[in-house]
Amino acid sequence: MATLKDFCIEVMDPAEDEAKVDPERTADEFVRFYSLPKIVTLGRLQGLAKFLGIKKISPNKLPESFRGYHFGSDGNYEIQYRQQDWVGSAEHTVLHEIYEIIEDTLDGLFVEFVRRQGTALERAADTFAASVLMQTEHFLSDVYEESLDVLKLQKKYGRAYSSIILRMKRVMNNRHSFFAVIYEPRIQNQVYVNEFGIVIDKKYFIENFVCRYLVKTSDIKPNRKHGRLLWCFLPRKKHHVMLDSVAYYVLTEQRSAFRERVEGFDMFGYDDLSIIARPVAWNGQISKVIVIGIPQKENQLLRGQIDRISPLMLYKSFQII
């Protein structure tokens, strides 16, 4: 099998600009070059390691701020990942470190190449890892097949929910308008329900859930004719679940909810959004609420999911997402 240097020469060859490489294209090439399957496991990466000049991939007790670490020199690297991380995170970390090694190798091979530094390198390495673990073609086809069901995609790919929605946004960009939000409790493991499953302190329960992750394509914004006031109805990072929002009904009714029409959130004239929100349970409690929004005119994309889960249908046309 070809070495990492061979791969680097291959990946750089067709590029006009030798100063940098695109991490997503590099990931596509990487998958093709090493004939990686749709689901890349830690075992597969360990098997590939020797061809990449990585003598060892192993868990280790790392400093608190590190999730992964690589060290060594050409053809003789070692990668370590945090020993307490779950396998999905370890796979991402290993690929993240492999990308940094690729940039090191390119730096040694091509005088014109400028190795990314700091957060730019971190971001590129994360994009590379996500693109190998959720390969564009397969992932997009699964997004449609599962009718944008984040829970199904999470099971299929074994990735964090946040990685799934980020990747969805990336592969759907330029194809569909899309936004996704993940609410999580500010304080974990609080008991809100009595033995009959009834929420004890409703207000406290709802307000404990805050928006941790929010991704959206740039065209999801209040339509001008509705005025900028509508911004306040869009979820915002670190803000808690709003009263009468779709996520609110998920928390109060303890089941999925679907609002077919929320007006005024698409600048390209579709004008309305359809919103679906799903609870994620852990130890008998809701641990997350995942909200997905797409233009109402495209909501047939959600049809399979809606048929499967029979969510609570919210017919009132309120603005709150």
Binding site: S73, I101, V114, R115
Partner: protein, 134 residues
């Protein structure tokens, strides 16, 4: 002073432009510019050999500044505090052009003493060199 700044300083003092250095050494001026601005690591010793006579310094001086040779210590190692020794050793690791390292960082990028110690220990394990005594 970082290696790139040191190299730029030498060039300016000699009244040379990057293109003059390129002409004399056949090393691309864009590459030299990236080294000077710190976008690239210090060059390989073979490149330093070409640069030294043009810049009017010894190869030893460039190698030291580039981190290939240990700098003469202003403080004797045995007189260093634990913190000084950690910084000294961390500097050696970071300036060894034959050794590459990097992390998936989830913090704010702050290099704490724990991080330094970890990085040095990995270097010691890899190279067999003993840098830390304290």
């Amino acid at each position: 002073m970082k290696f790139g700044e040191f190299l730029k300083d030498l060039r300016i003092r000699k009244g040379l432009k990057l293109r003059d250095v390129e002409k004399a050494t056949e090393i691309s001026n864009s590459y030299l510019s990236q080294v000077e601005t710190g976008k690239r690591n210090p060059p390989h010793p073979d490149i330093l050999k070409k640069l030294a006579p043009v810049y009017g310094v010894t190869i030893g001086e460039l190698m030291t500044k580039a981190g290939y040779l240990e700098q003469e210590m202003t403080v004797q190692k045995e007189d260093m505090t634990q913190e000084q020794e950690l910084d000294w050793a961390f500097n050696i690791v970071k300036n060894d052009p034959l050794y590459k390292e990097g992390a998936r960082d989830i913090g704010d990028g702050e290099i704490t003493p724990d991080v330094k110690r970890f990085v040095i220990q990995m270097y010691e394990r890899y190279t067999g060199r003993k840098l830390l005594t304290k």
